[in-house]
């Protein structure tokens, strides 16, 4: 359970989040949508403690993230996996080393076991056999999928996806959507997905929340969301469905 209360955040006088409230249920997929630059990434970064609120509170499993010191925070981050918008692969390491990184850092597994897990995760994202490639040799979509494999390598309880399907072709988008659904069902994780893609959001979401002007303007099931009275929501759905 992630509880965000009255979250405020500004950068150099630019108020990005202005009293945002959001509750994210356990074991469900919550999709966060909203126009570009409205602060979705900023919101996600607060959930994993990469940013500290100017005001307000972020509680994850009843723990206030601001109250943790750096050692406690490091321990706490074990329950998260995060996929960054630009994948954030380590560009000094090849694909295998990237996916193996969290396993090497946090488990005592042997090289053989690690090899097996990495191969398995790469197969999940459809990238079998790319182990020795460097990130610079991969397309944007492939990098994102490697980032996803790395994020799920340690079987986290909460997975944060920052635009996992943006820039992917429709077939790959569907594959990633299915992967998110499957991961969620198999491992019963809590998934938070930032998305631009309205049809895919409706397909995978248990809850959809829309960020607009620094607040959540609508939050609910796909059905409830579709019937929202909010103007911005309706406009977003209209434009999104036309595109998808």
């Amino acid at each position: 359970m992630i509880e965000i209360t009255d979250l405020h955040k500004s950068f150099n006088g630019n108020a990005v989040l202005q009293g945002l409230n959001l509750s994210i249920p356990d074991g469900k997929i919550t999709v966060i949508i909203g126009p570009s630059g409205c602060g979705k990434t900023v919101l996600l970064r607060h959930m994993i403690g990469l940013l500290q609120p100017d005001r307000g509170r972020v509680m994850v499993d009843r723990v206030n993230l601001s109250a943790l010191d750096r050692v406690q925070m490091n321990a706490f981050r074990g329950r998260f996996g995060m996929l960054f918008q630009q994948a954030a692969l380590f560009d000094s390491m090849n694909v295998f080393e990237n996916v193996a990184f969290p396993l090497r850092e946090h488990t005592q597994k042997t090289d053989g076991e690690i090899q097996k897990i990495v191969a398995e995760k790469l197969a999940l994202v459809g990238l079998t056999g790319t182990e020795t490639k460097m990130p610079s040799e991969l397309s944007g979509g492939m990098r994102k999928r490697v980032g996803l494999a790395r994020a799920i390598a340690l079987q986290p309880k909460i997975i944060l996806y920052d635009e996992p399907t943006t820039g992917l072709d429709p077939i790959m988008t569907e594959a990633i959507d299915n992967l998110i659904l499957e991961t969620q069902r198999k491992m019963n994780v809590t998934s938070v997905v930032i998305s631009h893609d309205i049809p895919s959001s409706f397909r995978i979401a248990d809850q959809i929340s829309m960020v607009y002007k620094g607040r959540i303007v609508e939050s609910g099931t796909a059905e409830a969301f579709r019937n929202s009275k909010h103007e911005a929501v309706q406009e977003f759905i209209r434009k999104g469905e036309g595109k998808g």
Partner: protein
């Protein structure tokens, strides 16, 4: 009054410097405290030692050789006026050991490895790789800064020894060939005047320079903002700030080291 207003922007400079110094101290404190916590990443320590130490060898040998040679030439010409050419070896060796070898080595390592540290860490910062480390519960200071600082503290003194040795060799070659100093007196004076304390004091300096150049360069890398352009800015300012720091620290260290190591001889 208007004159005062015109100067107000300049008054900000010391304040900003003070602020930067404070941030750097906090950064160093965090990095040092993380250094003593497990896990110890021996492999990346050795990788950095290889990059900072072993791969700097050619450039250090080259600069050492030419520094020793030119220094011998200059002192030789001057000493010839007083017919004291025999002292060229000891003069060059002393200056190298106490001052020139540690400072030049540190400056060369800054140019080669300090800039690389800032660029590497800066790139990781702007492409969110540092944040990715954090989300994977790996402390970026411990992972990135500790190995580089440790490698510099060990490697800059070792490179300084090489610089000393090659520099003296250069002076010997120039002295015995161009200046016609007989090899015997050249070496005898060199051994007579050069104390282990001189070399040791220089190595302490080198270790301190290594610490400063690594922490300043990493600090600049960590503060990178704004894409590829920001990485360029960070790299430049890392080299400038490290070099200035080395020269300033050198002054204070010299007073201190002269006091403690060599005073008993006077």
């Amino acid at each position: 009054m208007t004159l005062l207003l015109k100067w107000i922007p300049f008054l900000n400079v010391p304040l900003e410097l003070l602020g930067a110094l404070g941030r750097w101290c906090r950064f160093v404190w965090a990095a040092v405290t993380w250094s003593f916590q497990p896990p110890y990443r021996w492999r990346s320590w050795f990788c950095q030692m290889q990059f900072i130490g072993v791969q700097s060898l050619p450039i250090i040998m080259l600069t050492g050789l030419f520094t020793g040679m030119v220094f011998a030439l200059q002192t030789g010409k001057t000493f010839a006026i007083f017919k004291m050419q025999n002292l060229v070896g000891s003069t060059v060796a002393l200056a190298l050991a106490r001052e020139i070898a540690p400072v030049f080595t540190a400056l060369m390592v800054t140019a080669r490895a300090g800039s690389a540290m800032a660029a590497e860490i800066g790139t990781m910062k702007v492409t969110e790789q540092i944040d990715a480390l954090r989300t994977m519960a790996v402390d970026p200071l411990q992972y990135l800064v500790t190995p580089r600082v440790i490698a510099c503290i060990f490697m800059v003194p070792l490179l300084t020894i090489v610089f000393n040795y090659i520099g003296c060799l250069g002076a010997y070659v120039v002295g015995t060939t161009l200046l016609d100093i007989p090899s015997g007196p050249f070496l005898r004076h060199l051994y007579w005047y050069l104390d282990p304390d001189d070399i040791f004091g220089g190595l302490i300096k080198a270790a301190v320079f290594g610490f400063f150049l690594a922490t300043v360069s990493c600090y600049k890398g960590f503060r990178t903002e704004g894409g590829a352009e920001g990485v360029g800015r960070a790299t430049t300012s890392a080299v400038v700030a490290s070099s200035v720091t080395i020269l300033v620290v050198d002054y204070f260290l010299t007073t201190w080291i002269l006091e403690f190591f060599t005073s008993h001889r006077h």
